[in-house]
């Protein structure tokens, strides 16, 4: 039998307690004694001792075995401690009631030491397993709390789609890299560099904060995946990691919403002497997406011509312009009203690119 296990003997007869205590210590367990149920409950509820099994007499003064067992089962802190009833043959009816109430076994009086050893051993093993189980459940709970907290923190630092991708079963596969048709939207502010040079830091962060909040709301509303912020520049893509059949439309609607919301903000800035304009470039094409970076600092990013094109269109866009690549226009021409601005020379691309500005949503 394992050392360090403590058995509580509850019996009103001192003679019986002496015999049981002596036999139990011969089996290598530590013994505590109680004269009646009330004393037994006091010992069980004492946090400084951990009882592993109770040997409980049925007929006792103060609080009898049945009442003691009922009190134990009603107390969450001690209900899991195994109880073996000890009784004379004429008390079998009470014993049956006790087993129905949750006692795990019974020992007939006079006690046969070998039966005592066998049943006690079984009970101590059951108790040990139960203790391990409780310990395991506690560890599991701590682990779940930690993961939940990390997930919450992740979702504050990353786009919600990326945070949930990391926690999802096929996340690893997606992060490892894949190719997909996406729509990329680049947004930035005209006049920002001049403004950044002239404004004091508080003013700069105030303006950027207001701008990012507005952008953030629009991105979330339209289901965009934010790839990064770089000062006034913001890159968003659609159709990844969550697939969206209407990814081009979503990007255009987001850009239009941003432009509308930007107007009152820009008016406020203008009163304070800052002339800032909003421009967007949108392109559609295949990109490679996944984990980009190095151990210690990875981003979920997109690589491909579509990214470069969107970025260049954005730099070419004038204040309040949303420039679409030819392919993007072809995919949303029924939904939006556009005006061609002709061919643009794009750095890094051999041929000029035809682009259109979004005037507004088409009337259906």
């Amino acid at each position: 039998m394992k050392g360090g296990r403590i058995v509580l003997v509850v019996d009103d007869s001192r003679v019986n307690r002496l015999v049981l205590a002596r036999q139990l210590s011969g089996m290598g367990v530590e013994v505590m004694e109680a004269e009646n149920g009330r004393e037994a409950l006091d010992v069980l509820r004492d946090h400084t001792v951990a009882i592993d099994t109770v040997l409980l007499d049925v007929v006792m003064p103060e609080l009898d075995g049945y009442e003691t067992l009922a009190a134990m089962k009603a107390d969450d802190a001690i209900r899991h401690i195994p109880v073996i009833m000890v009784s004379g043959v004429e008390e079998l009816e009470s014993v049956i009631r006790c087993i129905e109430l949750g006692a795990i076994d019974y020992l007939p009086k006079p006690i046969n030491p070998r039966i005592l050893a066998a049943r006690l051993n079984a009970s101590l093993i059951a108790k040990q397993l139960r203790d391990l189980e409780l310990e395991h459940i506690e560890q599991q709970r701590l682990l779940t709390t930690t993961i939940e907290r990390q997930r919450l923190e992740l979702s504050r630092f990353l786009s919600p789609q990326i945070a949930s991708l990391i926690s999802s079963p096929d996340g690893e596969l997606m992060l490892a890299g894949h190719r997909r048709l996406i729509t990329v939207a680049f947004c930035d502010l005209r006049g920002f560099t001049t403004f950044a040079e002239q404004a004091d830091p508080e003013e700069l962060f105030g303006v950027l904060g207001e701008y990012h909040r507005m952008m953030g709301d629009a991105i979330v509303e339209h289901g965009g995946t934010l790839e990064h912020f770089a000062g006034d520049g913001v890159m968003i893509f659609f159709n990844d990691p969550v697939t969206q059949d209407d990814h081009v439309e979503r990007a255009v609607r987001m850009a239009v919403a941003m432009r509308e919301r930007f107007a009152p903000i820009a008016a406020g800035w203008r009163k304070r002497g800052y002339e800032l304009g909003f421009g967007v470039g949108i392109a559609v094409g295949y990109a490679t997406l996944g984990r980009i970076g190095f151990e210690g600092r990875y981003d979920y990013g997109a690589i491909g011509n579509v990214v470069i094109l969107a970025s260049r269109l954005s730099s070419q866009a004038g204040a309040n312009q949303i420039l679409l690549s030819q392919r993007a226009v072809s995919m949303v021409e029924d939904l939006v009203e556009v005006e061609s601005i002709g061919d643009l020379e794009i750095k890094g691309l051999s041929r000029p690119v035809s682009a259109s500005n979004v005037v507004g949503a088409a009337t259906r």
Binding site: V19, Q23, V59, P110
Partner: protein
């Protein structure tokens, strides 16, 4: 041994008990002394309850006496205590309880004598 008249002391019970504590006779002797000390007061409580015809006051001392008597092998006393416990539980204290009380006293004295004799015999060998 019949239910109506079991023996005063079943020595086999004490011997088994001794074997169960690895032959620690000193422990058994202490145990019997404890029984004799506690048993005397239980008998007093039982007789008092019977004299007062108080059924509820009879149950517990009779139960404890029954249980500890059985442990040390005082079987005749245990059997009497069992009957008294049952009577107390049923709430019916019969008219002839006075005789029963006298018989309990006799049975107790017999048990004391038999247990003391058993201890002495052990000391002689």
């Amino acid at each position: 041994m019949t239910e109506s008249n079991p023996q005063v002391l079943n020595e086999a019970v004490l011997e088994e008990l001794e074997a169960s504590v690895q032959g620690d006779r000193a422990f058994i002797v202490d145990l019997v002394e404890t029984y004799l000390a506690d048993g005397a007061s239980h008998v007093v409580d039982v007789v008092a309850a019977m004299t007062a015809a108080d059924a509820s006051a009879l149950v517990r001392p009779a139960h404890t006496l029954k249980s500890s008597s059985a442990t040390v092998g005082a079987e005749r006393l245990a059997a009497m205590a069992r009957r008294l416990e049952a009577a107390g539980r049923s709430g019916i204290i019969e008219a002839d309880l006075g005789d029963e009380a006298a018989r309990l006293d006799v049975a107790w004295d017999e048990a004391v004598d038999a247990l003391r004799a058993w201890i002495r015999r052990g000391e002689d060998t």
